[in-house]
């Protein structure tokens, strides 16, 4: 049994009368890719938002490397190594591609209450940012305004930003959403290449990608975990098939 990086214990969140997350427990082992799947409205994004701190949990606990982070705000969790990408691409469109990543580096590089020195020319920020861009294959676009990138490139840029500061855990909310087949294939390769350095929790609808990448899979339906285990076991699980996979076979 390898070390646990992130552990959610009985996380619950209600919206009015609806229970979006119902005592969800999940543990990420160091270096694994753990996929979280389930039909639309199952509470996957809510669960990610609880983990990243955008939503407060009604009850339950979250441990990052053994430390209780349940009550910490988003930015503190990020500083402790919990990075994420969003379902709808979230970058800084008004800045250059390099600036996007070097700001992400800056978040992990000491105080930003510095008012005089030119951050855009700080090699301590730009060099790691350039390396990251090279790693994800966006080096040529470094000088472009981020808003001008193609959709697929924006998703890759967001991934690069999330990777800044070498996070303990990467929460990925549908990284393949809106990507064409070729772009999707490259994204899968990119994610596979991050293993085992980065532990990932992957929410994704593309089942081919999920079963190619995931070491373990957890299935969420109506806010509850109905199954968790290795991909083959999940594929054969009759409850999962009826609740979720069965719907997909037609399409």
């Amino acid at each position: 049994m390898s070390e646990e990086v992130l552990r959610a214990v009985d996380l619950t969140r209600r919206f009015g009368g609806v229970i979006a997350c119902d005592r969800v427990s999940l543990a990420l082992r160091r270096g694994e890719i753990h996929a979280l799947i389930g039909p639309n409205g199952a509470g996957k994004t809510t669960f990610l938002n609880l983990l990243s701190g955008e939503l407060a949990a009604d009850s339950g606990r979250i441990l990052l490397c053994g430390r209780d982070i349940t009550r910490l705000p988003t930015h503190r969790r990020a500083r402790l190594g919990l990075a994420r990408s969003f379902q709808i691409t979230s970058i800084l469109p008004g800045m250059s591609v390099l600036e996007n990543v070097s700001l992400a580096i800056q978040a992990h590089a000491g105080s930003s209450f510095r008012f005089f020195a030119d951050a855009g020319r700080d090699p301590a920020l730009n060099e790691p940012a350039s390396e990251l861009l090279a790693r994800v294959g966006l080096r040529e676009c470094a000088g472009l305004p981020a808003a001008r990138l193609a959709h697929g490139q924006k998703r890759v840029l967001e991934l690069a930003m999330a990777l800044a500061g070498d996070p303990e855990v990467l929460l990925l909310d549908e990284p393949l959403a809106g990507l064409g087949p070729e772009e999707g294939r490259r994204m899968v390769e990119l994610l596979a290449g991050l293993r085992p350095r980065t532990t990932m929790l992957l929410v994704e609808h593309d089942m081919d990608a999920v079963f190619r990448l995931a070491d373990r899979v957890t299935v969420l339906v109506y806010g509850r975990v109905i199954a968790s285990g290795d991909p083959d076991g999940i594929r054969r699980d009759p409850e999962v098939r009826s609740a979720y996979l069965g719907e997909e076979e037609g399409g």
Partner: protein, 331 residues
């Protein structure tokens, strides 16, 4: 807002022309012109300071007159107590302009921290309305403050003292104001590209992303708000000295609106643009009525009718304002 070393020739020519004309104006010997230019420089300082929150932070503060007014009232209140020979809260009043700068910064900074801590938890229209509400509170406070002449305001018999600088001399005062503005613009240009400036700009672009990256953006926006307020209050100290008058009108929402108009006219988020915006606004305010009166007697009163469409045109077609038109919209 490019770095100095990356500025194109149009930027350089514009900067050189602006600086040269600013330096030469007092040598025309025209007292009226120097006074008008002084007014422009003071509002340029206030408008650029407002751009720190409006342009960089994307926070439309509709209450910046409060900070301008607080700065002005520091001068007025100090003058009054010095004139009467009374103490203020048990302290001896000072007419030294640098002491007044410090006081203005403390008072406006305190007000900015207290109100900003509330305002900055909101966004969009709510932010606009809450900043307006706080400024209006202060406006009515000073209107009803009998001790300091309520809505009649305080007429000053002399300017603040500037140590060995003879501020009473219009030319010296003009250069003093110019120095304040240039100092701030140099600082603002550095700030724009600094780590701090990038975080504030990033927070305007996508606050959620910035927090997910690990930035406590609230703190950065509050600091930007504080900086902007302090510099605006400095402009208030200068304004009181330029007009020999302090009154609640400086705190009115018209004043907040004028500052926003100057920023929009000149170019939001460019820091230097608002200087042009302030110049354009004050020149229009000064000369447009006379021009209109030439066409029809009494038409001058309605000069704002022309300002409106101009603002609409700038907002629609020149997103970087007058500065964008002059130096191009490229970064």
């Amino acid at each position: 807002m490019p770095r100095l070393s990356e500025m194109g020739w149009r930027w350089r020519i514009l900067l050189a022309l602006a600086l040269l004309s600013a330096l030469l104006i007092p040598w025309t010997g025209d007292d009226y012109l120097v006074k008008l230019a002084t007014r422009i420089l003071i509002f340029a300082l206030a408008a650029s300071a407002l751009d720190l929150v409006l342009g960089l932070g994307g926070l439309v503060s509709f209450g910046h007159a409060a900070f301008l007014g607080l700065g002005a009232y520091v001068v007025g209140i100090m003058f009054l107590h010095d004139f009467e020979g009374t103490g203020f809260l048990g302290l001896a009043p000072s007419q030294d302009i640098f002491v007044q700068f410090l006081l203005a910064a403390l008072v406006a900074g305190g007000f900015a921290l207290a109100t900003g801590a509330v305002c900055l938890r909101t966004r969009g229209v709510a932010f606009i309305m809450i900043t307006l509400a706080f400024a209006q509170m202060l406006f009515f406070f000073f209107v009803s403050l009998r001790r300091y002449n309520g809505e009649d305001g305080i007429a000053l018999w002399n300017r603040s003292r500037g140590g060995w600088l003879e501020l009473e001399d219009q030319r010296t005062f003009y250069y003093f104001v110019l120095a304040c503005l240039v100092l701030f613009l140099v600082f603002a240009a550095r700030l724009y590209h600094s780590r701090f400036g990038r975080v504030v700009r990033g927070s305007k672009d996508n606050d959620r992303r910035m927090r997910a990256l690990g930035f406590p953006t609230y703190r950065y926006r509050l600091t930007a708000y504080l900086l902007s307020a302090v510099v605006t209050s400095i402009a208030g100290v200068l304004l009181a000295n330029a007009t020999y008058f302090v009154g609640p009108a400086y705190l009115s929402w018209h004043m907040s609106g004028q500052l926003i108009v100057m920023v929009v006219l000149g170019g939001i988020g460019t820091l230097f643009g608002p200087v042009l915006g302030a110049a354009l606004f004050i020149l229009l305010e000064e000369f447009l009525p006379d021009v209109l009166d030439l066409f029809a007697a009494g038409a001058g009163e309605y000069w704002m009718l022309l300002l409106g469409p101009l603002l609409v045109i700038v907002a629609l077609f020149a997103r970087r304002g007058l500065l964008g038109v002059l130096v191009g919209t490229g970064r």
